[in-house]
């Protein structure tokens, strides 16, 4: 019996600590009840409660959860009437209960983060037609759902063009975490950018690890956390001759930074989603640039507009034009990127915006 008791204690403490991992500063799915919802609505009749349902990975994942919540807090700083809160999802099974709990709480708007939550949002929106929803990384699935998507193939295109212009070996590499559209859209853009450079310049820069015409192929780490694997994949691409690597794999991509560091400056990395010099500062000297995804900005704009009473409807698609994707500053490489290449990049960007260059990635939001 003693044994059983101890197992229970260990198990319980493990669960408590696991829960600590996701900072229970705000309501969790289980603690939200009808009573709590009632008090929230009565006590803050003027306030605009913006509730966020995060995907797995936690609020500080240095990726889309963090960027999304940053947008919410930015809006709340500018407009004190906005009361931000979030709940984390520990697995995909939490999506529906979390959304339902937020509906019961009486939130002014509910922002769901992550394309995987699409079906759960659609169901919740259909069941609660008067509740406003927004979803990051998915298209609108109902009149009361505002979809926010990002055509990161456009940013990736610029990254590919830049890489092709900067490589000394004539080979550049890219690899992803999983072969899923939010990842491969970056790789498509990168691939196309290199091909465009080859076409206009008559060069033959090769892309290792991805070929847009073979969507089932490509190099993937099958993990977004395994930095050691990310390092060996990046090393393999360098061994095959690449001197610029573009990992699209969240934390696992940090392994590329380690390869660049040990190469002593021969290898450069293009970071993804956020400006690498801010999110992974230790490798900043090796980041040529970053292909960004403007989640923070678009969430901020949505919440600010919604708090003023005008709920945006339909879809937002982040593009080069509206700053929803693009290239981060060159930071340490600012002096090393030739001025002609910079002006060419500006031209390419203008051509993508004007439609002169068409991007063919099958993963683009429609």
């Amino acid at each position: 019996m003693k044994a059983v008791k101890f197992a229970v204690i260990v198990g319980a403490s493990a669960l408590v600590l696991a829960a600590c991992g996701s900072k229970p500063t705000t309501s969790s799915s289980s603690s939200t009840s009808g009573a709590a919802g009632g008090s929230a609505t009565t006590s803050s009749s003027k306030a605009f409660t913006a509730c966020m349902v995060l995907d797995t990975g936690g609020v500080d994942d240095r990726s889309f959860n963090q960027s999304s919540y940053a947008g919410l807090t930015t809006a709340a700083t500018a407009n004190p009437a906005i009361k931000p809160s979030y709940v984390s999802s520990n697995s995909q099974n939490d999506y529906a209960p979390n959304l339902t709990a937020e509906v019961n709480k009486g939130c002014s708007t509910i922002i769901a983060v992550g394309g995987l939550m699409g079906d759960a949002v659609k169901a919740a929106a259909a069941a609660n037609p008067n509740q406003h929803f927004a979803e990051v990384d998915a298209s609108s699935s109902g009149a009361n759902v505002y979809g926010m998507e990002y055509n990161t193939a456009q940013g990736g295109f610029l990254g590919g063009y830049l890489a092709a212009g900067m490589t000394k070996t004539g080979k550049v590499g890219t690899w992803g975490g999983l072969n899923i559209p939010p990842v491969t859209i970056y790789m498509d853009g990168f691939y196309e950018g290199v091909q465009y450079y080859n076409r206009t310049k008559g060069k033959n820069v090769q892309v290792l690890g991805w070929n847009e015409s073979n969507q089932k192929g490509g190099t993937f780490s099958q993990s977004f956390t395994d930095q050691n694997k990310g390092k060996t994949i990046s090393a393999a691409q360098v061994q095959q001759g690449a001197d610029i690597v573009f990992p699209v794999a969240g934390g696992a991509g940090l392994g590329a930074g380690a390869v660049a560091q040990s190469s002593g400056g021969k290898v450069m990395v293009i970071w993804v989603d956020t400006d690498g010099c801010e999110s992974a500062a230790q490798y900043c000297p090796y980041f040529l640039t970053s292909v960004t995804k403007g989640i923070t900005d678009s969430v901020d704009k949505y919440v600010t507009a919604a708090a003023s009473g005008a709920f945006p409807t339909g879809n937002y698609i982040g593009t080069l034009q509206n700053g929803g994707t693009g290239l981060a500053p060159f930071h340490t490489f600012d002096s090393k990127v030739p001025a002609t290449l910079k002006s060419e990049l500006d031209q390419v960007k203008a051509d993508i915006i004007s439609g002169k260059i068409t991007i063919t990635s099958p993963s683009q939001p429609k």
Partner: protein
């Protein structure tokens, strides 16, 4: 199958000799057919090859003896290997190798088939060279945490305690290595990683040995504990102060003069960082110690038949405590390899299931240190092959999801064909209670 213990005069070491029944005809022919199928596949690869040559770079980084690139005529290589494999397969089907011979032959067959396969793969892309040294170095980097994790498992399970918590012990080591490696220097990091792993091992030991908790359930719980604890500390301390808490210096390779200049083996064995050298030492030490030292004999006795060990005066519980805690420390070193020997920062769940693969390598390696090393290397190679095949663009495009299955396919093939029946230590997972 019976286990005979024989004592040689003047030698107090006991040697286990496994007497195996002669292989059944069906199994013998089956294995022969499987080898022949590989031979036929090689012939097919030779037929399908596009370019004439496959280029292997053998000597990147070694200036001492420069070995020219190995250029193999693909079709001829694959045909020759195919014919050899067919011949070996026929011999196996008709006469049959002995178990030991089969294992050696199996390794050779695997290597030959890999050569044919890689030649074929390299013949597809224009001008793609396979950097053989790079492939082996990446294999080692991927296998190192698995080897250390599997050694941890060997120590625990040989003494009769199932260690499902390797993942958690590695994670604790990776965390401690990164955080204390930043605060106290990287040697301090390694030391604290050993301590952190040992502490996780101690928890396992106390609950498994003293409180007789079901060891598999306990292991799962300890993994959750480690994930939650390190994740919490990462969120609360390391991430907000990344520059002062999460930027350990990574160990750079230490070249051993002269030896490191040997082609291929030089850089692989004599140009590694200190954690890998430690790993080599541990593999040799544990392999020797387990079968040739007093500690090893006691460990195996306690793991096979604790009651008998107790009657001859061995303190069963103490042997188990010591082994489990030592095992935890070694798993912690495996975690430190990730943050101090490879990348240089900790992130949540950085071990990403490597501890569980290590557990598989332990079983696949038949609970022996050298078997575990071989299995870990095979897993590491399968991961590397997955990357390599996606990069060199073989003549036939292979979907990435199929490549992702490679490590597991390799396991199934090797377990079914080479390893045969595996047997865990007799008292593995059974708590010992003195009557």
């Amino acid at each position: 199958m019976s286990t005979a213990a024989t004592t040689r005069p003047g030698d107090e070491v006991v040697i286990h000799r496994v007497v195996e029944k002669p292989m059944s005809t069906r199994r013998r022919v089956g294995i022969g057919v499987a080898i022949s199928v590989l031979g036929l596949l090689s012939l097919l690869l030779g037929h399908n090859a596009q370019a004439h040559d496959a280029r292997f770079d053998l000597s990147q980084g070694s200036e001492f003896f420069h070995v020219p690139d190995l250029v193999l005529p693909v079709a001829a290589t694959a045909y020759v290997i195919g014919i050899i494999l067919l011949a070996v397969g026929a011999y196996q089907a008709v006469r049959g190798f002995r178990p030991r011979g089969l294992r050696i032959a199996g390794t050779g067959i695997g290597a030959l088939f890999m050569l044919a396969f890689l030649s074929w793969a390299a013949s597809g892309g224009k001008g793609s060279t396979i950097d053989l040294l790079g492939v082996l170095e990446n294999t080692l980097a991927l296998a190192a945490p698995l080897i250390l994790g599997a050694l941890a498992g060997v120590l625990c399970e040989r003494s009769g305690v199932i260690n499902v918590a390797i993942e958690g012990q590695m994670l604790a080591g990776a965390w401690a290595g990164a955080m204390f490696g930043t605060l106290m220097g990287r040697f301090g990091g390694v030391l604290t990683a050993l301590v952190a792993g040992a502490l996780m091992g101690w928890l396992l030991a106390v609950f498994a040995i003293r409180y007789l908790v079901n060891q598999v359930v306990l292991g799962v719980v300890l993994n959750a504990l480690s994930l939650g604890l390190t994740g919490f500390i990462y969120d609360a301390i390391m991430q907000p102060n990344a520059n002062t808490m999460n930027t350990p210096q990574v160990f750079q390779p230490l070249q051993i003069p002269v030896l490191s200049k040997l082609p291929l083996v030089g850089p692989l064995i004599f140009d590694q960082n200190i954690i890998v050298y430690l790993m080599y030492a541990l593999v040799i030490l544990i392999q020797w110690g387990l079968f040739h030292s007093r500690w090893g004999l006691r460990t195996r006795a306690v793991g096979e038949h604790p009651k008998a060990a107790d009657t001859v005066g061995i303190n069963v519980l103490r042997v188990r405590y010591v082994n489990v805690i030592l095992g935890g420390a070694i798993a912690g070193l495996g975690g430190a390899f990730m943050t101090l020997g490879s990348v240089g920062s900790f992130t949540k769940g950085i071990t990403s299931g490597n501890g569980f693969i290590a557990l598989a390598a332990l079983i696949f390696g038949r609970w022996s240190p050298k078997g575990a090393v071989a299995a870990s290397l095979l897993f590491g190679f399968a991961y590397e092959l997955q990357t390599l095949l996606s990069l060199v663009a073989p003549p036939v495009a292979i979907p990435s999801y199929f490549l992702a299955m490679l490590p597991y396919l390799a396991t199934i093939f090797a377990v079914a064909g080479l390893v045969g029946k595996v047997r865990a230590p007799g008292a593995d997972g059974e708590p010992y209670v003195k009557e």
